[in-house]
């Protein structure tokens, strides 16, 4: 449930803008997430939702605007440092490391690994081994949670579309983020996995995770989100409870392709 706005928002995105060769893909978008909130982000194809995620996560540099997480300004830093600051994201088109196993995909995402320092591997044997054991344990718990355990030793390239979406989620979960940006985690997923994905997103949120969720499936939005933000042509079109939004004439118009 949305908490009253007595505290500063955890994620505070203001007036972001990005244009591609004259096309204003994101055009002055602001969005604020309170801690623990699960907010939906909807809008027609090409509305600029994924571009907004890329701006927030740092894969794209904004033309204008700012991104703050827990009071820290992230606008000027690269995507890897934003993740380290607690801002995790998944990709609309999953990007597994195909030649690595599912387990290794998740292990790669662990933060602050001693063994990632090149020289440490030549002396800190026991410390690295102990860290790896803990990471493997944690990774397996997450894979279990997402029903991927059975596949842990498979190269990630053999995963189905839905399993890839789950792997994206597993990788971002093990980074212990404060906020997760989920880009269409259920698009193209078969119905059997869909329920699982919805259920797991709800559970992650229940454990306290702040989530911004791009999704086209209104039923899923209604099941998961207390608040929805609607984007069209790079701008904020509407904002409110899912039931109200579904009735909003402007939103319906945007989906039909004639938003003003």
């Amino acid at each position: 449930m949305t908490k009253p706005a007595t505290h500063a928002p955890l994620l505070d995105v203001r007036n972001l803008a990005k244009s591609f060769a004259g096309l204003n893909a994101v055009d002055g978008m602001s969005i604020a997430l309170a801690r623990g909130e699960l907010t939906g982000l909807i809008g027609p194809n090409g509305a600029g939702k994924t571009t907004l995620f890329n701006l927030i996560a740092g894969s794209l540099k904004p033309d204008a605007g700012s991104i703050r997480l827990g009071g820290t300004d992230l606008t000027a830093i690269g995507p890897e440092r934003r993740l380290r600051a607690g801002l995790g994201r998944t990709f609309q088109i999953p990007r597994p490391f195909g030649e690595m196993t599912v387990l290794e995909n998740v292990l790669t995402a662990v933060q602050n690994q001693t063994g990632e320092r090149m020289f440490a591997n030549l002396y800190a044997f026991s410390r690295i081994a102990a860290e790896e054991r803990r990471s493997v344990e944690k990774a397996r718990a997450i894979l279990d949670f997402l029903s991927l355990s059975r596949l842990e030793n498979e190269p990630a390239r053999v995963l189905s579309g839905g399993q890839r979406k789950l792997l994206e989620l597993a990788r971002v979960m093990i980074t212990d983020p404060q906020v997760i940006l989920l880009d269409e985690p259920a698009a193209g997923v078969n119905p059997a996995l869909l329920d699982l994905i919805i259920d797991r997103i709800a559970e992650i949120n229940r454990r306290g995770m702040t989530i911004l969720l791009i999704e086209h499936n209104m039923e899923m939005i209604q099941r998961l989100c207390a608040r929805v933000v609607v984007m069209a042509q790079g701008k904020l079109l509407a904002e409110g409870a899912p039931a109200d939004i579904a009735r909003d004439a402007g939103v319906v118009g945007a989906y039909l392709g004639d938003a003003a």
Partner: protein
């Protein structure tokens, strides 16, 4: 077998193994990280000259000549080459990939020119002589000297190989593989591709510098003409023949290509009249080129192809055999 033949065999193998070290360095850069270094000669030369300057006795008309122990020279050569690699990496890896290729090529030409012209430091075209040789007091006995040096260089190859294998299977190697597969995904998981690439490039440079130093001490003298772009070509051929991405392949490829190189040299010496030998020498290049093409046609990934590596601790639990 006669002692002369054995001594020659030891000499041949030792040379081949110094190339194997260079090749291991290139495998870190290209095989594991995808960094295109076309200036290998520069890193080998820097290692050789640095070590030579540190270890040779004082010589008239040349700066340096510090007379330090050979081991200090090796370390110094590796360190200086690492520094060069770090600078080149730091300046170019943030740019597009092709900048690295152009820059490394430029650096190798410059280093060669510096070696040729900075007479006061490098001895100019005559190079540096009287570089101390390991086991130099055995030099009277060619076989003992050859075998002792072979053992030493083989030990360096083994240690380098073991360290690199350990790194490949470490979390560091895992991130490197992730970056090679999908840089954007790796970044979104908090990994910093530029920094890891610079590390890998620097490590490769250090190994090449070490190899250069070892070569210099093994032969006992160096000159700018040893560090022409030819070396770069040879080492690339070695890695491609042996199997890029595979450390054992790098070692095997170095030995095979060096054998081809050495044998063809002898063949040319034996078959062509003295007058045309210089021109016939270019046949060796053609020969290596042909061998390269043949390998690429028959085994595009090299003799030993890259194996899918698991990090050491991610050897998963046993799966039930029957499932689904």
């Amino acid at each position: 077998m006669s002692p002369e033949f054995l001594a020659y065999g030891a000499f041949f193998l030792t040379m081949a193994l110094t190339y194997a070290i260079i090749c291991l360095g290139l495998n870190v850069q290209w095989g594991q990280t995808g960094l295109f270094n076309v200036g290998i000669a520069a890193f080998v030369a820097i290692g050789a000259y640095a070590s030579a300057i540190l270890t040779t006795p004082d010589a008239a008309g040349r700066i340096g000549g510090f007379g330090l122990p050979i081991a200090v020279g090796w370390v110094g050569g590796a360190a200086l080459s690492a520094l060069l690699a770090f600078l080149v990496g730091w300046l170019t890896i943030r740019l597009r990939a092709d900048y690295l290729a152009i820059t490394t090529f430029g650096v190798s030409v410059s280093v060669q020119l510096v070696a040729l012209n900075l007479v006061g430091l490098t001895g100019g075209p005559f190079g540096i002589t009287f570089i101390p040789r390991p086991f130099g007091d055995l030099a009277g006995n060619a076989l003992a000297f050859g075998l002792a040096n072979l053992a030493l260089v083989a030990a360096v190859v083994l240690v380098t190989y073991l360290i690199l294998e350990r790194l490949v299977r470490s979390p560091w190697g895992r991130v490197l593989r992730a970056i090679r597969e999908d840089e954007i995904a790796a970044q979104a998981l908090g990994k910093s591709p530029k920094w890891l690439r610079i590390q890998a490039f620097t490590l490769g440079g250090a190994i090449m510098g070490l190899a250069g130093a070892i070569q210099a001490h093994f032969i006992g003298f160096i000159a700018p003409e040893n560090y022409l772009p030819m070396i770069t070509f040879q080492v690339w051929a070695m890695l491609i023949v042996g199997g890029s991405g595979n450390n054992r392949g790098a070692i095997l490829g170095a030995i095979l290509v060096w054998a081809l190189w050495a044998l063809s040299g002898q063949l040319i010496e034996a078959t062509f009249p003295a007058g045309s030998q210089a021109r016939a020498a270019s046949l060796r290049l053609v020969l290596i080129g042909v061998a390269l093409c043949a390998i690429l046609l028959v085994r595009p990934q090299g003799i030993l192809r890259e194996v899918r590596t698991l990090s050491r601790h991610a050897l998963g639990r046993k799966q039930p055999e029957v499932s689904s």
